[in-house]
Subunit: 164 residues, 2 copies
């Protein structure tokens, strides 16, 4: 099959996206590490728990929402547990499963860390864009996720981005 | 200062972008590892060299274009050198500096790997978008890079995305 090389416009868009994908994680990590002692991934884990009913999720559900394998998530949750931010208990509905729950101390950390994180998101992502571009970005990233995340695991907080 | 929380539309766009940033590197790495034995970062390094005059760049320039620290880049280039893909020589203009040059074998690997990589980029990024969205993505990612990469280090292949 003949390779369909990128056009100049496609290549320019692609190289810019690659640069964003390369640079954004470091910016998020730096701010959260400095202000809350958390990586962006750790923050994402505790933020997901803070929004769950009773601040509690089954580990398998938490793994899906954070795009982590269970071993990777278990490792991170163990570190958060050592810091008293999360506690793990057997799931009452399924003794083989484990739940992760945000502790009061974890909740306080999310509450304290959220404003600085949101400022960073505004500064590097939202504020440089017009509101039309924000809408476009939502549509563009949604279109990519249909391929990158066909089961919609990472975007369950919103309406589904594709059919049933 | 009062926190300006994200609106629902901003939050939806942001969460989708985070998911793309989380998922895209794994997709690129998996395909390149399977087909060419390279991480996406290693591929990016050899691809940058393949486009340079005489397939040769000063290590400091290569570090800028790939957003790598010199120690990280040196580590990766050493591995590429061990595989006979890159060679390092003292820079003739500045004996304290080192140049990295793509070998013939490195060139052959880039030529062999490029079609599969481009197919992956098309499949996950370009083809799901309309051509209008590709143009929008270029503008959006360019706007973010003004903040993320104010010196324009990662996008020197194109017209500057901001003033002189």
């Amino acid at each position: 099959m003949e390779t369909r090389w990128l056009t100049e416009d496609e290549r320019a868009a692609w190289l810019r996206l690659v640069a964003v994908v390369e640079l954004l994680p470091g910016v998020l990590d730096s701010q959260l590490q400095a202000d809350a002692g958390l990586t962006h991934f750790e923050y994402f884990v505790v933020a997901m728990l803070s929004e769950a009913p009773e601040r509690n999720l089954r580990m398998s559900a938490l793994a899906q929402r954070t795009n982590a394998s269970l071993p990777r998530l278990s490792h991170v949750v163990r570190r958060l547990e050592d810091r008293g931010l999360v506690s793990r208990t057997p799931c009452p509905d399924d003794r083989r499963a484990t739940n992760a729950r945000l502790t009061d101390r974890g909740w306080d950390l999310v509450v304290a860390a959220a404003p600085g994180h949101v400022d960073t998101v505004r500064r590097y992502v939202v504020d440089p864009l017009t509101s039309r571009q924000v809408d476009e970005l939502r549509g563009i990233a949604g279109a990519l996720l249909i391929r990158l995340d066909p089961q919609g695991r990472l975007t369950p907080l919103d309406e589904p981005n594709h059919g049933p």
